[in-house]
């Protein structure tokens, strides 16, 4: 008994030092990528703004901020899954499920906080299922979450019989539609919620042991296991968090639109993953940060918004975003090769 305790204690200390070491080199890399994304953002904003100065109007910045907010919340969760070397394709379906659960609860007369909890609980459940199937049974995350994506979408369509749920109470819609006035600045409430969640995730990743384990699982799962850290539990926690954050994102989206459609967020999983990857989460695991994810999401939305401002046909958007992903992955790859060579 004693021996085991010492072993775990020792193991944790080792894991911590492994994590700290890997985090330092990660810092160098991530900050580099964050700076690149920030530079891209500035250039994009300058070009779009020069072409059409309306881009800088407060109403557009609010419009953009509102769009970024719920999208980034889901991307935060997915970026953690990517950190542990996994993938979560079920986020779009979870967003729809959470919206529908929340709206059904509101229709049933539940108070807003309870209705939100109902939505988030759905996300937690799906995340737990994903986590157990991936971490305990060792099934490939791509297949598992592809399966739950279909399953969850089917359940969501079943709950609603396919019809969108409307007529949600105004004080629920306020969550997604209202602006807060901080002095002369007006800030969408949903952006404030996103910022709070981002800070929480950032604290979790940077200031807790769990956060270090998350980075280490993605880099070297074997090492973590050797020193006695339950890597499976770490992974399950991450999938649960991803489900919960996707659910929060779905609830925010529903509040903003005032309608919960069972077909909502169809195909968003790929854009959310793209936002996380553009922001610096490496699909090879072990790398990525909160700031990068928020910047990546913002860049994607600015590019989409910019298409309209530049008068480009919107069907080219997915092409542009695809090119962005490839560029970022290529840069990531080249940078790693240079690092490996020393």
């Amino acid at each position: 008994m004693d021996k085991r305790a010492t072993r775990i204690g020792l193991g944790q200390r080792q894991a911590r030092s492994v994590a700290r070491l890997s985090r330092q080199s990660w810092r160098a890399l991530a900050s580099r990528q964050e700076i690149i994304i920030l530079a891209c953002l500035v250039v994009a904003a300058l070009v779009i703004g020069l072409w059409n100065p309306n881009f800088y109007q407060a109403t557009n910045l609010l419009n953009l901020a509102r769009g970024v907010s719920w999208f980034a919340v889901a991307a935060l969760g997915v970026s953690m899954v990517i950190l542990v070397g996994g993938i979560d394709l079920s986020v779009g379906a979870v967003m729809a499920l959470a919206g529908v659960l929340c709206a059904s609860a509101l229709h049933a007369g539940l108070p807003v906080p309870l209705a939100i909890l109902a939505g988030v609980a759905g996300g937690l459940g799906v995340g737990f299922l994903n986590g157990v199937l991936v971490a305990r049974l060792g099934l490939p995350p791509f297949i598992v979450t592809l399966g739950t994506m279909g399953l969850v979408r089917g359940v969501t369509v079943g709950i609603t019989n396919g019809a969108p749920l409307r007529d949600l109470p105004p004080h629920f819609r306020a969550l997604g539609q209202h602006d807060l006035y901080l002095g002369p600045l007006s800030v969408p409430l949903s952006l404030v919620i996103m910022a709070l969640l981002a800070v929480l995730v950032s604290l979790l990743l940077d200031r807790t042991i769990l956060g270090r384990y998350i980075y280490t699982v993605g880099r070297d799962e074997q090492a973590l296991r050797l020193v006695g850290v339950p890597a499976a539990s770490v992974k399950i926690t991450v999938y649960v968090l991803s489900g919960a954050l996707a659910a929060c994102s779905g609830v925010l989206m529903t509040a903003w639109l005032g309608v919960a459609a069972p077909t909502a967020a169809e195909g968003y999983e790929l854009e959310i993953i793209a936002a996380a990857v553009i922001g610096g989460a490496s699909l090879f695991g072990g790398e990525g940060g909160v700031l990068g994810v928020v910047l990546g999401t913002t860049l994607m939305l600015v590019v989409r918004n910019g298409f309209v401002f530049l008068g480009l046909p919107t069907y080219l958007q997915s092409g542009a975003i695809g090119a962005m992903i490839l560029t970022v992955v290529l840069m990531d790859h080249l940078w790693r090769r240079r690092l490996a060579r020393g």
Binding site: N52, N54, F55, Q57, T59, N60, N63, G67, R153, G154, V157, G158, T160, N161, G162, A163, P164, R166, D167, L168, R173, Q177, M253, W256, L257, G258, V259, A261, P262, T263, A264, A265, E266, G267, R304, N305, V308, F309, G311, P313, T314, Y315
Partner: protein, 330 residues
Amino acid sequence: MRGITLLLLLLVVVACGAPAAPLRQRMTLAWVSKSLGNPVFDHGRNGALARARELSAAGPYTVEVIATGSASADAVEQTRVLDDLIARRVDGIAVSCNDPIACTEPINRAVAAGIPVMTWDSDAPESQRFTFLSIDNYAAGRVAGELLARAIDGSGKVAVLTGVPGALNLEQRVRGFRDTLAAYPDITIVAEVTSNEDISRGVQGVEDVMQAHRDLRGWFFAGMWPLFADRGAMPLWEQAARTGRVKTVSFDTLPFQLELLRDGYLTALIGQHYWGWGYDSVQTLYDRVAHRTVFPPFIDTGMDIVTINNVEAMIRAWETNDFTAPLPPP
């Protein structure tokens, strides 16, 4: 003699075994929508069931309608549904195709199995379906263009919202709209945004355009996507629409759209005959199966044009579920 008696006896026995009532034949027709649960398709299904009841009451056949479809708007799943119906040997199929190409093979399989197939709302033109029943999307797009041009007095910037790039019916609507506006030299189409048939994408597209073109005068929504969102989701459009700065013509006439029109947000709506998708399809299939009637390759269902002048009548039609009375002029 004895033999004849025996034969007579046998005949009597057989006659007693047969039903006393006049023989009624059963006709089973399948009505397949793009997906289950869409309120618009529910409406069509009700129309199909209503016509089946009427035909059963009137005619020699007991007409049974199987209203079915894939759970989501998925082409592969729809193929499976169609193959199941062929296996059940239904007497006729009316289908709205999720994908014109994916639909063609199963339709041809059904026809090869002796089951007549027609399409409604969404066609598979390359298949052996005997007719296609739908609104004339190109003509409807032209009407939308005319209504919008009149609402903005023939000048100003306008924008178009469409769904998935490549969807045939939407493309026809937009082409009709563009062709009409080409005759107005003072109107320019400054943007065409896609919604991917997604509410949130539609809302964002509309707001992006409202932001980029502050002097926009008009919108054509080739589908109702962004209007599904509640008030407050599109602050720029809502404000411009309420004050009349922007005029909007939209496809479809669902109750929440009628409400928006009555409240002054929308200028005109172009409605399809959702009820008729079922009601007329069942009638057409019935005529084909019972009387071998030959139909032209396209049956125009006509369209409803709703403005402030007749919106109340359309709202009443939804409330009473009776779409048989013609609308007052727009």
